[in-house]
Symmetry: C3
Subunit: 153 residues, 3 copies
Amino acid sequence: MKAEEQIAALGLTLPPAPPRGGVYKPVVVVGGIAYVSGHGPYLGEGEYITGRVGDDLDLAQGNEAARQTGLALLATLRSELGSLDRVKRVVKLLGMVNSTPDFQEHPKVINGCSELFGQVWGEDAGIGARSAVGMGSLPGNIAVEIEGIFELH
Amino acid sequence: MKAEEQIAALGLTLPPAPPRGGVYKPVVVVGGIAYVSGHGPYLGEGEYITGRVGDDLDLAQGNEAARQTGLALLATLRSELGSLDRVKRVVKLLGMVNSTPDFQEHPKVINGCSELFGQVWGEDAGIGARSAVGMGSLPGNIAVEIEGIFELH
Amino acid sequence: MKAEEQIAALGLTLPPAPPRGGVYKPVVVVGGIAYVSGHGPYLGEGEYITGRVGDDLDLAQGNEAARQTGLALLATLRSELGSLDRVKRVVKLLGMVNSTPDFQEHPKVINGCSELFGQVWGEDAGIGARSAVGMGSLPGNIAVEIEGIFELH
């Protein structure tokens, strides 16, 4: 099943593509590779999931924030590329968690995005290389920021 | 107007290309893509803008540090490629701010570099995808570190 | 001398390729470029070098952790590609140090990995572009996490 059919079959509702928060492009395509800017867990109407994982948010809430960030990335990809079916595979994600200094479960947080992409594009094409790490701070105190590289058809 | 002409028209003075601070190359080109190492706000003569944004430095000073980092990136690109006119477009920047845990304005800091690149290469080619995030610490306590990916002619 | 011959000549012992710690692939190859997931200083049998550089670990121990991370990256590359001789050059590393807020020697830490790669693939092909930065926290409190981009033959 193709990605757009999967979105429908899974009953997923994407937020609007997030508004730009600075001087950058949401996506730049070069040589069949789409470089996608860092996204946060956008809920629509200017609202994001905020807070520090390990303090304001627990692991499950952090995972949910990463999944919401994945939905925002999908919204931007659809908006910029016309269709999620143009993505051939997820190449790499950099998952950045707004976490306390003693937090240790960053991979389980970012899995919220990776599992979503596995559902949308399939276990092979939807799962790429990845790093999952803890940041000192993130813009607007968002809980998670994820940037990605995608191969296009 | 081409990038080198713009540099002259804007009256920009580039610092020397920063000295290498470890075991790496300033730029590696593969398949027409230049991968540029993380740069700091180099002022020349071994001096960098240092300090933590949100404590030692305010937002305007952080933005100025990002602009200076952009000038250092331009100096390295010119030194390594021969001319800034060889850059076809900015593909992606990762803007890393040495900031306090409660700092939230990372995009406005990194805009100092992005706006400079928009002036040098134009609003389309000079503006790429981007992430702007807060680090726990940076080498030598520099205020900002930015790495980039550039498409070449 | 080729990389696999160098490994033997240097008497290097690679750890097993680290077990996957989340929903990702260790390596994704697209267009002759291998994107390698963030790796930690894996010792085998589920054990990693852990601790914060500047507090639990000193600079020399951090450098050793980066070297061990390099060995883990080599193990994964050999396991996924069949041979380290398939790597044409190191394109870029992102070296992330689990460090105290006042730590300033991140490049000297990550040199532990870069010098290893220079021995394995040679001073030109083994040394790429790089950023070396300090994180707020890392998964499982590992001392260092490094991700990489490699050009393949």
